[in-house]
Amino acid sequence: MEQTMGNIYGINGPVIYLRGNLGFKMAEMVYVGTEHLVGEVIGLTKDKTTIQVYEETTGLKPGEEVIGTGACLSVTLGPGILSNIYDGIERPLKEIQKSSGAFIPRGSSASSLDTDKLWDVHVTVNIGDTVSGGTIIAEVPETTAIVHKSMIPPNVSGTVISVAKDGKYTVLEPIVTIQCPDGEEMVITLLQKWPIRVPRPTAKRFPLDKPLLTGQRIFDSLFPIAKGGTAAIPGGFGTGKTMTQHQLAKWSDADIIVYIGCGERGNEMTNVLEEFSELVDPKSGNLLLTRTVLIANTSNMPVAAREASIYTGITLAEYYRDMGYHVAIMADSTSRWAEALRELSGRLEEMPAEEGFPAYLASRLSAFYERAGYMRNLNETEGSVTIIGAVSPQGGDFSEPVTQNTKRFVRCFFALDKSLAYARHFPAIHWLNSYSEYVTDLTPWFSSNVNDNFISYRNQLLSLLSQENSLNEIVKLIGSDVLPDDQKLVLEISRIIRLGFLQQNAFHKEDTYVPMDKQYKMMEIILYLYDKCKKLVALNMPMTLIRENNIFEKLVSIKYDVANDELEKFDEYKQMIDDFYDRLIATNA
């Protein structure tokens, strides 16, 4: 095939123009200039070709050559992705560091996967087998935690005519040769490519009925997210988006985590990298990094690559889903991605819609979030991709376009609140503004796996909190002294819920991850106290008297005082509450 070529006519920031219709295809990946900067065709007219460049364009000159690759912007898929850290277009940052030092120069090319490394390959197909897209042909232990399953690329099928023996191979060596229906032979290696903007095909979508457990009480108990679901975490700066994302990445029960740092801070990515290389997954005992892939396109890296990083991340996630894994994506932050769209749109002089964002913002967002799901893959395995996207609304105002449009396409909304963050209530997720549409779908799971009462307790907690909110309106006007005792009790219990249950200390050894059983027991004991106190109030026992007992404070610090593996201690607390109740009745009756 002849290569398409052209010469630069004009340069404006990350956007370059070529004069004339030179035969480039839409979304084709191109190399720009003498330094071979990576670019993508984003606009074609009869007399102009528009290209966005994924690297700094300083020093580029009109007249320099642009060479087409004939293929869409793609990622390379194969063993070696996990534990790695990539930039927005899947260039390995560790390799770049080795070749160019601490700073990232332009035009640095390094292949995404280590092509020299020998992998232990176990071939799972035989000569004569009929294979089609998704069929697993080989298994490779990629890290201590994850077995990589190499598959026939989607859209390919045929009969196996030769297979390699089990042994050590690089990603470029042939593993299987197949004969396609049209008679052509095709060599399959461990490596395949896939365009980032195209979802990988699947067989079927399942309804979402299993939760993604995170060990974070506000999520698991109050606003659960389903495996294969979508969630947004919006919040102004300093409200703890990144901390929340880190906690989810660390503790959620997904098999694989794709962490996308899109336009965020360099030091934060370093922190993730450091922490994940040290932290051990409580369930498998492996290092967290062995199940994680990091994509770091920090805010000072080129803006076009920031736009691509989200797609790179989700394509990697879909690839692992096809192997039958449950993958969770943390995208921090989708606003930076939307702003990259806006910046590029401005450079292209497109007509702006709301707040300067391009009119296609909503459709791009929906296309992204719809790539989540719990699927049956082409090879009959089941896997899921869960997307948890942080949103950084301008000025912390949720009415801005990115938050509003995101809200339309996600089913969980975890609203971070400035005043909670100021009071250092973490996670600063506001219980009244957040919601999860998955609660009904997940109810059967919670009933059969945790307890039949789980959902009812959760609802009682939320209703107490909402009562507290309306009572607080009154308290703000006239003070709390005038409230009747039953309402005072609601305030007291809500305080326990807020401090003892919703607040969770990410730096505390016991509190950073809490299993479902303990979450359930905590809810139970709080409601048990509420029940007993309600009885006391009904007997005209004044709140001041009830409040004197330190049982309230004890309940608040259950999260620290009862370790995750000493749940039998909850019986002691129950006993304490009973004693307290009996004592009050005895002394004041």
């Binding site: 300083t58 560091q97 700073f103 990298l273 702003e339 000025g395 250092r424």
Partner: protein, 467 residues
């Protein structure tokens, strides 16, 4: 070889267009000679085959379509650097203005810099003792951090920055080499003078490099000033192993300059008329703070910005807050109560604090104490709001205590002298002393063990002296 072009084809504000150019590259620096006397520099901001749009540093005054010669330099903006820059003063483009002559450069560096590979960064953990309680205890500054001061016009942000510089880097007798890079963008002459004076007074001037673009200097120059300054800082930190504190003031003027140039270029504006790339542009500056793994130096940034109309949701503070690792927010109402420094601790934050404090760094109780102070002070706001509705007398006894705690916190903890260098242990002790105003049950953010150790101890000390 260099071709000179005679004449221009268009002048529009700070931008000029030149036709018939060949071999011009994007972001290349050009030299103008006007009437064969005056020399000016410019930067190519848009380039087409045969046409270049150039922004002129130093303004387009006196330029006409005929009297200007243009020469392409063939390279992007560069600055020559050596350790001689310490103690010197430059203009916004990095040309000496202190009359001491040119420096002999050891290297020439592209001012645009390159993004630091996240893999090569070292996560900052060393805390800087600034001697200011509100910062040390509640928004701890870490070496390699970027921590801006969000201020308003008329608030003492300059004094605060100067005090940090005085007490943080120069007070201690450490053997490591410190340096200060000061970049002024569109600041008033008095402000620049104030800093110069302060540096001199504290005997630091030989460690200071100043880049001054004053309020009456050309606007376009302002766009390059912070880049020049940060290139200098990176050179001193990563090539010469020094710990560099960079003060950038005022980021608002920088953003205004961007808006001005962007609108002359006829670009599509996004929020409040600022260009869509404001965030990316800020990021390329702020992200140049940090520590490179395996190298001894560090770059710590304290950008100062004045929030237009004290509005923290304005695009400038808003976008800054999303990039920097926290912020120190100054509050007008505290300033009016004559509290110095008027730091409103609630919206203030240091993101790197959690890893740089506690046992081994400051003291084990630091994090818990800070959380409790934040939480209790947040409650003070509620109590005050209630008091303004129902009157102070009607408040419950506990809310009254909060009011007492609130004013004591502002007057004794936040407030301190302009030359007072408070050691961290004093700060922490003061914090516990204030908390002892509140009953122990209210202190719900503190681990029970720590609470018993520190709260009781102080209660015994303070109860007799209180009455």
């Amino acid at each position: 070889m260099s071709i000179e072009y005679l004449g221009l084809s268009e002048i529009n504000g700070p931008l000029i267009a030149l036709e018939g150019v060949s071999d011009a590259s994007y972001e290349e620096i050009v030299e103008f000679t006007i009437d064969q006397k005056t020399k000016k520099l410019g930067r190519i901001v848009e380039v087409y085959d045969g046409k270049a749009v150039i922004e002129v540093f130093g303004g387009t005054d006196e330029m006409s379509l005929k009297n200007t010669h243009t020469k392409l330099t063939g390279h992007p903006m560069e600055i020559g650097l050596s350790t001689e820059v310490l103690g010197r003063t430059f203009n916004g483009l990095g040309q000496p203005i202190d009359g001491l002559g040119n420096i002999v450069p050891e290297v020439k560096l592209n001012v645009n810099g390159q993004p630091l590979n996240p893999v090569s960064r070292e996560y900052p953990r060393n805390y800087i003792n600034t001697g200011i309680s509100a910062i040390d205890c509640l928004t701890t500054l870490i070496r390699g951090q970027k921590l801006p001061i969000f201020s308003g016009n008329g608030l003492p942000h300059d004094q605060l920055a100067a005090q940090i510089v005085r007490q943080a880097s120069l007070g201690e007798g450490s053997t490591e080499e410190f340096g200060i890079v000061f970049a002024a963008m569109g600041v008033k002459h008095d402000v620049a003078e104030y800093f110069r004076h302060t540096f001199e007074e504290s005997g630091a001037s030989s460690h200071v490099t100043m880049f001054l673009n004053l309020a009456n200097d050309p606007v376009v120059e302002r766009l390059i000033t912070p880049k020049v300054a940060l290139t200098c800082a990176e050179y001193l930190a990563f090539e010469k192993g020094m710990h560099i504190l960079v003060i950038l003031t005022d980021m608002t003027s920088f953003a205004e300059a961007m808006r001005e140039v962007s609108s002359s270029k006829g670009e599509i504006p996004s929020r409040k008329g600022y260009p869509g790339y404001l965030y990316s542009e800020f990021a390329t500056l702020y992200e140049r703070a940090g520590i490179v793994a395996g190298k001894p130096g560090s770059v710590t940034q304290i950008p100062i910005l004045t929030m237009p109309n004290d509005d923290i949701t304005h695009p400038i503070p808003d976008l800054t807050g999303y990039i920097t690792e926290g912020q120190i927010v100054l509050e007008r109402s505290l300033h009016q109560k004559t509290i110095y420094p008027p730091i409103n601790v609630l919206p203030s934050l240091s993101r790197l604090m959690k890893d740089g404090i506690g046992a081994g760094y400051t003291r084990e109780d630091h994090q818990d104490l800070a959380n409790q102070l934040f939480s209790s002070y947040a409650h003070v706001g509620d109590a005050r709001a209630l008091a303004s509705v129902i009157g102070e007398d009607e408040l419950s006894p506990i809310d009254k205590k909060y009011l007492k705690f609130g004013s004591a916190f502002e007057e004794q903890f936040v407030s301190q002298g302009k030359n007072e260098n408070r050691p961290i242990t004093d700060t922490l002790e003061k914090g516990w002393k204030l908390l002892s105003i509140l009953p122990k049950e209210e202190l719900d953010r503190v681990d029970t063990k720590i609470l018993n150790k520190y709260y009781i101890k102080l209660e015994e000390e303070t109860t007799p002296s209180e009455e």
